[in-house]
Each structure stands twice: as C-alpha cells, then as structure tokens.
Amino acid sequence: MEHITFLVAVVIVTALAFDFTNGFHDTANAMATSIATGALRPKVAVGISAVLNFAGAFLSVKVASTISGGIVNEKAGIHPSVIFAALAGAILWNLVTWLRGLPSSSSHALYGGLIGATVVGVGLDGVNFSTVVTKILIPAVASPVVAGLAAWGATKVAYLITRRGGAKTTTKGFKIGQMFSASLVSLAHGTNDAQKTMGIITLTLVSVGALPKHALPPTWVIASAGLAIALGTYMGGWRIIRSMGKGLTDVQAPQGFAAEAATTAVILTSSHMGYGLSTTQVVSGGIMGAGLGGPKAQVHWSMARRMVYTWGLTLPAAAVVAGAAAFVADQGTWGVVLVGAALVAGSGTMWLLSRRQPVTASNVNEVPELTDVTPVPVPGSAASPATTPTTTVAA
C-alpha cells in the first residue's frame, strides 16, 4: 500500500510537471502572432493567456472523462508506473523541442508516451491502433492544411475588403481584433490541454481504486491542473513564440487575425466532432496560410520543413522514450526512482543548455540571422534510457 501511495504521488507530480511544460510550450499557439504584430506587449500577452488557460480548465471536463480517448484500452491493465513512464517520455520530448525552438505538439507527445509505455508495460493489445489512425493521425495531417486554406482565404478576403480603407485605421482595427481572437485561442487551449492532465490524474486515481470507475475529476485535480498550465503559460515559451511569430513569415495584423480566426474555427469544429488534434499544428498551418495569402505571399520554407519533420517525429520519439522508461519503471520502486532521477537530470540539463542563448520577453521579436534558434551542442550522454531524446535530436 505504501508503494502505491508513493507511486501515485509521483505520478500526480509528474502529470502536473507535464502540464507545466505543455503551458509554456503552447503559449506561442495563442500569442505568437499577437506579439509579432505588436497587438499585445509580450508580458501582457502571456499574462492574458495564463489567466484564460486557467479559466478554460474549469469550463468543461468532457475531454478529461474520456482522456485516453479510446487510444489505450483501460481494461488491459494500465497501472501507475505505465502512466508515469508515458509522462516522462512526453515531458522530455517537449523540453527537447522547446530547446530547439520547434513548436511540436504537446498532445502528440502525450499520446505517443501513452502508446509507447502501454505497448511495453501492457502489450500490443493495450493500444487501439485503429482509433489512433482515425482520431489522431488523419486529423493531424488534415487539420494544418484546412487551417492553412481557411487562413489563406480569409487573408485574401481581408486585404480585398480593406484595400481602399486607410492603412492606419485598418491596422489598428485588426490589432484590436487580434486581442479577442488570441484570447479565444487561449481559452480553447486551456479547455483542451488542461483536461488532458486532469484525465491522466483521474485515470491514475481510478486505477488504484482511490476513485470509483467513471468518476469525474475532483475539484482539487481541476484546480491544480489549471494552475500548472497557467503558470507554464506565464513563463512564456519565448523560443517557440519567436519561431512561430517571426520564423515562419512576416505577419501583419490582418494576417494574424485571419490565422487566429482559422485556428479557433478548426479547433472548435474538430473537438466538437471528437478529433484529438494538435493546437500547435493547426496554428502553424494557419500562420503559413496567412503568410501565403498576404500581399508579399511568402513563407520561410526551411522553418516550415523543420516543423513538419518535428511533427512526424513527435509521436514515435515520445513513444520510444516512454517505452524505455516503462521497461525500467516496471522493475519496481528502484526502477521508478531511476526514471524519476533521469527525468530530473534530463530536464535540468536542457534548462542549463537554454541559458547559453536565452530568449526572453525583451528579445522575442528580434530575428537572428540564422533560422536555427539554438545551435547548442547536444551532449551525447545516454547513461539512462530517459536521456535518449537528446541523442535522437543530435542524430
């Protein structure tokens, strides 16, 4: 019983840590274009986004109650150490991509982690692969394209309508519009992503019998998940904000508004239909579409290519790390401690590496000559399974 209590506590803390990385990884989704166009000052933007992410967590528990979304077969015997390994894989992948300034999907990292840990810890039949294809993979490919097309069309229309209006009034109007559109994206993000953590914690509590089956998340779970994602958001993932706001294209206010409108429309209609898509990919698609639809019609394809590669890698990479972590964590308490230590060491290393070339609120809009935001050397230490993502990226 003591072992279970320790493990459950570790899983809850790790889930909140994932939620935190999810927050600062995804601040860019809602705020990158608003910061890039100057509609909101960087600190104000992350503040608003943090508050709305917190509020969003309380709006609904629909996603949380079906967290696994049928991806993993709960009856197959998911236990806390599997969930712990899944989270470890997801956190490490989130940190690696953040260090590189790449907007990968936090949701896919979590799904990948769950799949990898379940395959190793439970077996192949623990994963519903057909659900993975229909609800995750197909939307993952389709949603950025749809958002891109919608943002492209909307940008064309916006420039067409306002071509005879005064440039100053137009820019001012769309900047004000961006405040609303960016806020709505933040709220939708809080609702979607905070719920994933709530679902993970609830699933863990149910698996050890601390909560009855099909229980809704308790209030303390909702509040702590909302708080963790809000704190992470307020930290501001400045590296990713720079990549998305300045790295993809030169965004003007009407384009930013169109991209955010497209993002919101795609996220809301898709979650209504039950597709587990990635906010990050939708936003990136929207920004690219808005860039192509604008007067200059340009996108920095090298950055776009790097993003698409990262998207493809996210799910399998998180799955491999989580699978290795599940193998170690399954060995007993020492295994869990080892994975925990590797997770802390890996996270600490990446934070230290990030200090070499800090990106903050004050320099977020300065674009470096290179598209590579962080050409930091990646250590080749593979002492423990949980640090493998660093070497994956170096390769």
């Binding site: 749809v146 958002a147 069309g153 005064g166 109007g173 709220l187 795609v266």
Partner: protein, 74 residues
Amino acid sequence: MHINWSALADTAGVSFVVTVAVVAAFALGVLALGRREAAVEAGSGRGTAALAGAGVCFAACAAAVGYGLTLIAG
C-alpha cells in the same frame, strides 16, 4: 478500419466557411469605421450610417464568438 470521410469533409468545410465569413465581417466593420472617421474629418456629416454598419458587422463577429464559447463549455 472505418474512416468517416464525410465527417472529415464536413469539419473542413465548416471551418473554412466560418473563418472566411467572420474575417470578412470583421474587415467590413473595420472598413466602415474608417469611412466614418473620414466623413467626420471631412466635415461631411457624422457618418452615422457607417457607424451603424460597423456595429452590425462587429455584432455578427461577437455572435460567432459567443457560439464558439457555448461549444467550448458544452
């Protein structure tokens, strides 16, 4: 494995139409506000009609946002 292509197509179509419609309404509102400013500056009336037009456009956007909020909370 069954893939529901028509649901996917519907989702894509609705997203596209809603996005373009909301942005078009907002752009018209911004344009109308600009007209009003120009009219006031030129001294040719108060641009009441333009202001009313802008109001209608922004109200349409607000309605879309409100519907979005009910979808989130639903």
